[in-house]
Every structure is written in C-alpha cells, then in structure tokens.
C-alpha cells in the first residue's frame, strides 16, 4: 500500500487553536496504532495525539512551536 495516512488534529471541542509543544516520535520511526505521537497545548491543557494507524512516520508537517486548528494536517504515516 502506498496510500499515506494523514494525522490530523482531532476535534477537541470549542478549542480554536493549539500549539505543538513536543513530538514524542521522530520522522522515520516505525509506529503502532495508538502510540503517543505528539503533545499539543491549549488553555493550560496538554493533549496527547495518538497514531491513527501503524506504519512509518514519514513526514512531520507541524513542528514544535507551530499552531494548528481542528482537522489540520500534523503528519503523515506510510
């Protein structure tokens, strides 16, 4: 399969925007579905985004310090 899976910011409710505070995995890492991928922060809350699928983390789109809105592309898994 060469279809890439997109990792997007989940719906966190009324939250308008988050900041990426830490990537817990690196580009090139092999990951399992449900692994902790990155942490985002909004209003004093850290939220852990999990891998939606197993594979290899091929591209990090939103880097540490970047802001993201709901459904924005964060990374790609192959």
């Amino acid at each position: 399969m060469d279809e890439r899976t997109e990792v997007r910011l989940p719906d966190l409710g009324e939250v308008e925007e988050v900041t990426v505070t830490a990537w817990l995995r690196q580009e090139g890492d092999t990951i399992e579905e449900g692994d902790d991928l990155l942490e985002v922060e909004t209003e004093k809350t850290t939220f852990v985004v999990e891998a939606p699928q197993s594979g290899r983390l091929v591209r990090i789109v939103k880097k540490q310090g970047d802001r993201a809105r709901r459904d924005e592309l964060l990374a790609e898994i192959d």
Binding site: G13, E14, T21, K44, T45, T46, F47
Partner: protein, 234 residues
Amino acid sequence: MSSWLRSTETRIVTHLPLGRADYASVYLLQRQLHDLRAAGKIRDTVITVEHDPVLTIGRAGSVANILVPPEVLEQEGITVYEVERGGDITYHGPGQLVVYPIIDLRDQGRDLRRYIRNLEQGVIDLLAEFGIKGGRRPGFPGVWVGVRKIASVGVYVKHWVTRHGLAFNVAVNRAHFGMINPCGLPIEVTSLDELTGEVYPLEEIARSLLARMEPLFEWRLVEEDPGPYWKGVE
C-alpha cells in the same frame, strides 16, 4: 436526547480524600489511576489532597520563573518537579486544596475548553457562597478575584482521560508564591482566608467545592477509603 433523561445518567464517581500527601507519591498514584481509567478498569475518580510545599513546572514552563536561588528553596523545604500538564510554574503547599479528576472526557462532550470552564466554574460558584465574586480573565485560565488569582488549572489528557487539575488557595503561605512568577506571569495571588478573614478547614472546603462540581459535571460522588488505591504505588 430529552433533557429529563439526563438525570438518570448521572455518573457515580469515586472521591478519594488523601488528606496531606507529598507531591511525588500522589503523582504516581495519578498515573496509576489514569492507566486504570483509560483501560476501563475503574470508574471516574476525583482525588482531593493537600501537598507538602512544592513547585511544579508544566510543559510551557521555565525555571527562569523561579525568583529565588536553589538554597532558599532548600531552606524552605520546597522541591521542584517538571510535569507534563499544560501551563507554566505553580506552587502547591499547605492550606491549598488540590483536586485531581481522573475522568474520561468522552463522557463530558470531548471538549477540553468546556472541561477547564467547568473546573473554574466550581470555584466561582463556591466563592459566591462567601459573597466573593470570582471570575475569568480571557487568555489566562484560572479563577481570579479582581486582578489576583485564587485558583490555578493545569491539565494533561491522554486517551481522553484527564490527570492533574485544579489548585484552590484556601489559607496558603503567600510568601511562598513570592518565590515564583505564578504561571510565568508577574501576578499576585490571593487566598480565601485573606478575603474572608477566616481560616476554613480544607476538608470542609473540599466538601463544598465537590458539591458545587457535582451538577456541573453531572456526577454523584461517593467517598471511598484511599488505602487500597495506594497499593502498587511506591
């Protein structure tokens, strides 16, 4: 869903009153309960605790917001921990009521903002009992009385389950707050004793606050002996 059905869905939630306990042990207990909650092995659980003096630095924090040298912290018996909750630096210590809900936000509308607002609202409603007007400041989560902060929030959410939570100043040593820029800001804090001229026992304030939180979160809290929950926490 009809609104009258909601009352039948009130969740029973475990309340664990820990009394006074050191930060590191309670942190480990939180992690253990968080894992159990995420695995569906326990129901939603709310810890109340009073900590020994400690500074904790959140993900957005920096040691630069500690305003005194390490020797002074040592003299005062204050330990510093880095933690994974959101936010900057905060102080916990005697006379402060700390509430750690370990709850599944999928039952609370999967809304991080609503969760923070409900935490704040509990304190605002409690302050109203004392005739004190607590409020919010846009962009600065927590509960404020005028320009002074009386309660802080800082939360960590994984698998939609929360840990960390809320700290409400009941009768704190405000000099300890002078050692930091709370939340990374040059702000003043206040405490319920300062506003009312009375020192209330923490257990009494804990009961009142939790009673205020019940309708906001649609909980029914049932107190349990924390003893068995400490097993496996070293």
